[in-house]
Amino acid sequence: MSTTKKLAGAALAAALGVATLSACGGDAKDKSAGSSDAPKSKTVTLVSHDSFNVTDTVLKEFEQQSGYTVKVLKSGDAGAALNQEILTKGSPRGDVFFGVDNTLLSRALDNGIFTPYEAKGLAGVKPEYVLDKEHRVTPIDSGDICVNYDKAYFADKKLAPPQTLDDLVKPEYKNLLVTENAATSSPGLGFLLASVGKYGEEGWKDYWSKLKANGVEVVDGWEQAYNERFSGSAGGKKAKGDRPLVVSYASSPPVEVLYGEPQPAEAPTGVSTGTCFRQTEFAGLLKGAKNEEGGKALLDFLISKKFQEDMPLQMFVNPVTKDASLPELFTKHGVVIEKPENVAPESIAKNRDQWVKAWTSLVVK
């Protein structure tokens, strides 16, 4: 059998060789991590979740000015991506991590995956967003999770759309709302936290009992809620969705306009402004980063005016700096949420899992 083994070894090598050849498009310039042939690495790596996005030209400009090449790695949703960083603490896959939001912030800080760094231009960030005084994380963007309504439905029914959390439990809005599973979906969790923020750590359960009695439907993820069950979205119309209220984002109506075919003069959906929870996303320099200098430059870039003004149309979030202005699409079709609900990150960290469990047994089972 020894000849067979030799042959097998050769064949494995050959197969891997074939595989390498067949998949080397675009990877030729990748250096495997750990082999830095120059003292000052020219590549800076950003690790993020799947929703990260930036316009090519904006990124290229940063690369030209700083002399670094940016590599972006995306791995799963926000929770999964952060947990991977926690697991690989001390030997990270990149230099900067983007995408810790305020619901996960304490977990990231308690696990000590970031090196403190005060980004240049931090003074220009609105102070209410700077949650970590040690600057282990830098705020980058914010967005609001809110109930969206289907304008056509309420116009047809001559019914005023609900505006607050209290409205949603009224009989005239029975069986109209679809939301996401708080255990698996980030808007689902945000909506649960909005109710915690409004009714307190005890009162939210009572609110959800009423909401359940009023026929709230829970589906697993945002895609299903928005694209299939919600009557106001393109996908929902095709799938004959019959729920005119959905838990989504304050930026969803402008996005509906942007990707309308052709673009409508007015957004087909509106936002119930009294139902919102504010999410802030942060980035930080990873402990053990191979290219600390590059990482710092990248963090500075993330709160630069250029990047801050590019974000809204790429990730549908709001800038956090004072001088960044919103694109016309947002000023025209979006709404500013004056008073979003809020829960302290420490409180979220401490209670999050038990809230989710209690919510699950109350609403889903």
Binding site: A19, A23, L59, L73, A183, N227, L258, Y259, G260, E261
Partner: protein, 538 residues
């Protein structure tokens, strides 16, 4: 034997053991008490029970619905047979989130069944079972049909001549010969549905939960590694039990069979019974598979104000607005194909060697090895993905951000298919043929090439098709493996679906349609692959 062992040791056993170990071992030593704690939770018992029974029910239902089709594809000739064989495999590659959409159009509110009979199945367990049949139909058709096509029909005819009725002849001659393939297919379907994730979530609603879903939530969302570790061990135990049963039932049944060229066994339907059977199978395929797929295709052309190629055209412009988010779809197709080719090469090599080793030896060790090869099918992608993260992080094996990790992870799932498809056929090859070749002076390799290869070529192609399709549609592991931004088709579809707006939704449907096409065309090309040598006939 060595290559598959090293492959599995390095890319499966070691990472999974590491992540389970990390969950059970704290600074105060091993926390075996956690096992009891987790298992004592009533909700965990519920999840385990539901996971097991839905998998058993799905497997039974798939067998009942797909076995007639296996016969039709093996024994009957009809126009468009090859195309249809590729079409039934298409569901295999679709991301579950897309399939969920299609299925809701069939069984959901305002769906076809609702319109016709006022029946709604969404958020019931029936929707989950039907979707599992939809996904796994091809597994039975291809694995069982592949062997069936090569069984010598003359044996059954001989039984008929000796006075056995049609059914008795089938039961005593054909069924025993098919048993290993049926068992293999059942095992695969069971493992697949046992670790079902997206289907259960989307069609069942949040009130249904499988072990796989729990492992994902505990690992990816809560970072509760100790609970996840216990659940992973429960998965192992359950799969181990099923594999033991499988090994016991199959071992006694795998015997040498007379295998013939499949082209000689198929014929045009004769008599009304066969025609009716063919009609029934075609109708099932039309309703269960073509219709949901058709819904997706229809939506990809359904632009405002009629039908057109608007969404497909929009796909070409994604490069213009420019961003790291979207890639031109042509690039995603290319990425998908590259990964799939690499994964298929690895899976065929590892699986082929493993199957060859399993054919020639017997004994306890070999059976254990066989079971080991099956495990990846039933273990959560997130466990493997996170295991990679904490094990493959030091040179020379710092593969965490390397592209090769994607096909490797996909090959882990592909190998069981290769082994299960080839093993029944390889074991059916009469060892005396090999011995005769050896006596005549052929080296083991030469004997394998001249004796085994012609007979298993068909199984090999079927296996390659599976490995390819698995890789093309694989989503779970791919998402966790961070890599330079080269999204595959399923990843690109998921990203589009994750954004509001008509154009994004339409493009997601268009891209899903392209994915189906790529899959069908690849499989058709594979089916047509024929080595230059005409196969030896015995």
């Amino acid at each position: 034997m060595a290559v598959p062992l090293v492959f599995f040791g390095l890319f499966f056993a070691y990472p999974v053991a590491a992540i389970v170990g990390r969950g059970l071992k704290t600074d105060d030593g091993w926390q075996f008490g956690r096992i009891g704690e987790v298992l004592a939770r009533p909700d965990i018992a519920d999840v385990l029970w539901f996971t097991t029974w839905q998998a058993l029910a799905s497997t039974a239902l798939t067998l009942v619905i797909a076995l007639p089709a296996a016969y039709v594809f093996a024994r009957l000739d009809f126009p468009g047979k090859q195309l249809l064989r590729a079409v039934v495999t298409v569901p295999f590659v679709l991301p579950t989130v897309v399939v969920g959409t299609a299925f809701l159009a069939l069984v959901g509110r305002g769906g076809l069944m609702d319109e016709l009979w006022g029946v709604r199945l969404d958020t019931t367990v029936w929707a989950i079972l039907l979707a599992h049949v939809f996904f796994n139909y091809a597994v039975v058709v291809r694995t069982v049909g592949g062997l069936w096509a090569q069984l010598d029909p003359r044996q059954e005819e001989a039984a008929r001549v000796l006075g056995a009725g049609r059914f008795a002849a089938w039961r005593h001659v054909t069924l025993p010969a098919l048993a290993p393939a049926v068992a293999a297919a059942s095992l695969m379907v069971f493992l697949f549905t046992f670790s079902s994730f997206g289907v259960v979530q989307i069609l069942g609603g949040p009130s249904y939960s499988t072990l796989e879903v729990e492992v994902y939530r505990q690992t990816a969302q809560f970072l509760d590694l100790s609970t996840a570790a216990v659940l992973t061990m429960v998965q192992f135990a359950a799969i181990g039990g099923v594999l033991a049963v499988h090994a016991r039932t199959v071992r006694r049944r795998e015997t040498a069979l007379r295998l013939v060229d499949p082209a000689r066994t198929a014929h045009r339907p004769r008599g009304w019974a066969q025609s009716a059977l063919l009609g029934g199978v075609l109708l099932t395929i039309a309703l269960l598979i073509v219709l949901p797929l058709g819904v997706l295709v229809e939506r990809s052309f359904d632009v405002p104000g009629g039908y057109g190629f608007g969404f497909y055209r929009a796909l070409q412009d994604t490069g213009a607005g420019g961003g790291t988010f979207l890639v031109p779809p042509l690039e995603a197709i290319w990425n998908s194909l590259q990964y799939a080719l690499a994964a298929t090469a690895i899976a065929l090599l590892v699986g082929g060697l493993a199957a060859a080793a399993l054919t020639r030896r017997a004994g306890r060790f070999v059976r254990g090895f066989d079971a080991l090869l099956m495990l990846p099918l039933g273990v959560s992608a997130v466990t493997v993905g996170f295991g990679f993260l904490i094990t493959l992080d030091e040179p020379p094996l710092d593969l965490r951000t390397s592209w090769i990790l994607v096909p490797l992870a996909q090959a882990l799932v592909g190998v069981p298919f290769v082994v299960r498809t080839m093993l029944p056929v390889l074991r059916a090859v009469d060892a005396r043929l090999r011995e005769a070749a050896a006596v005549l002076g052929a080296s083991p390799l030469r004997a394998w090439r001249e004796v085994d290869l012609p007979l298993v070529r068909r199984a090999l192609l079927i296996a390659a098709g599976f490995a390819f399709a698995v890789s093309l549609g694989e989503f779970g592991a791919t998402v966790f493996i961070a890599r330079p931004d080269r999204p595959t088709l399923p990843v690109a579809v998921a990203r589009l679906l994750g954004r509001a707006g008509e154009l994004n939704y339409g493009q997601a449907m268009a891209l899903s349609t392209i994915l189906m096409l790529v899959c069908a065309v690849s499989l058709l090309v594979l089916e047509r692959l024929r080595p230059d040598k005409t196969s030896g006939e015995f």
